[in-house]
Symmetry: C2
Subunit: 167 residues, 2 copies
DNA sequence: TTAAACTTTCAGTAATTATTGAAAGTTTAT
DNA sequence: ATAAACTTTCAATAATTACTGAAAGTTTAA
């Protein structure tokens, strides 16, 4: 497999993985293009490379910046804006995990908390609702907190060794 | 908040969380309805409760069964089929993690492996592609394996203690 | 200022994905 | 065999989501 083929394969695979996880194709592809680029790219270059419109590029770049994984880079003397993505996979994972936690997981945990806190009227169905949403709440909290801890690398030597063990 | 409101809130929240993660609404809602139900439900009852068509119900139930999180239950003497979901959240998480790993993560890891194995022609861009996809490959493998280990509870006393630490 | 070089916005459209409902299929009882 | 009770399939349609492109907006240089 040659460079060009490999590059295209990577970008398109990453794009479809994105859609499978609720991230849109263009967004995932822009990010992956930047991820393997040796330099910051202009909007023009991104449009050209991915064959997408100016508007689409602009909007998705904005979203990527909102997520904190792409940043504008102003090249002195240049009028155009250039973009780069976080190149360190660990950092990248940290940003994504943090954002998805904040935007999606935390709000759901909150609702699970509310739902599982309704007053027990003694009926079987109410008991079941409380029991199951409570279990889900606990699971979600544990998973969320673990994910954050792991990705935040709040790792001492001991947790690192533990990681190796479970891995 | 009363039972009915709490129930509706739970089901609709779960449904929208689903869509956010690439799972369709009906599928998520059927699963959540079963999850808090005290008994197995027939197709009729699910349709009625969620106000969705017979076809939709049938197709999504099938998908849920393919994922291994819903099972048919045949009640003796009854002609209709009844459905239940896995009630244990741990088991549920295990099933989902296992399936997503198999269907989505593993194939992507495979492609990352391929892409990162192209021959190094010495150019900077090829080196970058190899380096970055390799990093992603390693991250994906670690994350996938950790997730599986965690949900599979292949936990000895030592991994359990470690879990507590990182948690 | 003005105008060139660029970016953003957004209404319209296209593409994708989900849903319906009725016909076809299956199973069970008689 | 027949028919009733049920489930599945799938073409048509609806709903959602993504994308385009041109107009409006912004910034910089002279």
């Amino acid at each position: 497999m040659e460079y060009q083929e490999a590059k295209e394969k990577f970008i398109s695979t990453w794009g479809s993985l994105g859609t499978l996880w609720g991230i849109n194709k263009a967004m995932a592809q822009i990010q992956s293009l930047l991820f393997i680029s040796t330099k910051a790219l202009s909007m023009e270059e991104i449009m050209e490379e991915l064959k997408i419109s100016r508007g689409n590029t602009s909007m998705n770049l904005r979203q990527l910046m909102d997520w904190g994984i792409v940043t504008k880079e102003l090249i002195p003397g240049e009028r155009k804006e250039y973009f780069t993505t976080e190149k360190d996979v660990q950092e990248l994972a940290r940003h994504i995990a943090k954002q998805r936690s904040r935007r999606e997981i935390k709000p759901v945990i909150k609702i699970l908390k509310e739902v599982s806190s309704i007053k027990d009227d003694g009926t079987e169905k109410t008991k079941e609702l409380i029991k199951q949403t409570k279990a889900l709440h606990d699971l979600a909290e544990t998973a969320d907190s673990m994910m954050n801890k792991i990705v935040n690398q709040e790792q001492t030597w001991i947790t690192k060794s533990l990681m190796k063990l479970i891995k």
